[in-house]
């Protein structure tokens, strides 16, 4: 009985690990973003799917990019900082100010990603989940409440349509 109830309960979140990673995310973000504490943070990721055809072998490859996504309600700005699953470092931030972007919307299909077009040249699709178990691919962090707040901000105050 005990074993079965454990099996059906599914994976449990290690909150200690999640909190430690949330602190690391804050450290990295504040290191590269001026007034970083003005931003709330979530973990997001991009998926780059590329098809290949090498003669008799063909298929598709998916590249996953980890992101620390910060948002400020007051300045209506989203800041995206690239990182790695173990949070050992991060790249330079990219700022998406609502007044400067071309358009932003919540996608429906194939994934419910947050899409931002800074200009006509390209776009970024930010995917986010409450929690992802695969530590080799994604940052291990539980963010149910923060993601709900970000979704609300994006849909009601950042999206352009």
């Amino acid at each position: 009985m005990g074993l079965f109830s454990k099996l059906f309960k599914g994976p449990e979140i290690d909150m200690e690990k999640s909190d430690a990673n949330a602190k690391k995310m804050r450290l990295l973000f504040n290191q590269v973003v001026e007034n970083g504490d003005d931003y709330r943070l979530i973990f997001g990721y991009t998926e780059d799917v590329a098809r290949f055809n090498y003669g008799f072998v063909h298929g598709s490859k998916t590249k996953i990019g980890n992101l620390i996504v910060g948002w400020s309600e007051s300045s209506q700005t989203i800041v995206v900082v690239p990182t790695v699953p173990d949070l050992s470092g991060c790249g330079d931030p990219t700022y998406y100010r609502r007044s400067e972007i071309l358009k932003a919307y919540r996608n429906k299909y194939p994934t419910d990603a947050f899409i931002i077009y800074p200009d006509h040249k390209g776009y970024i699709g930010i995917n986010a989940c409450d929690w992802l178990d695969d530590e080799s691919l994604y940052v291990y962090v539980s963010q149910e409440e923060a993601l709900a707040a970000f979704t609300d901000f994006f849909i009601h105050r950042f999206a352009t349509k």
Partner: protein, 62 residues
Amino acid sequence: MSWGAMGAFFLALLILFAVGNLWFHAVEFLLERIKRRLARREEPPAWHPLPTQEEEQQDRPL
């Protein structure tokens, strides 16, 4: 179909799978080398390592 024929069929599938994998990795390796050669002139993107606890304490005002 006899057991021998079934075994030969699965062996052929296994060989096809192994050769396909080898071919995929060989092409990926070559493409990666070509990309690296072409990207040599470009500057690598900036990278900021996670500050250690000591660095963090030094940065804090007293």
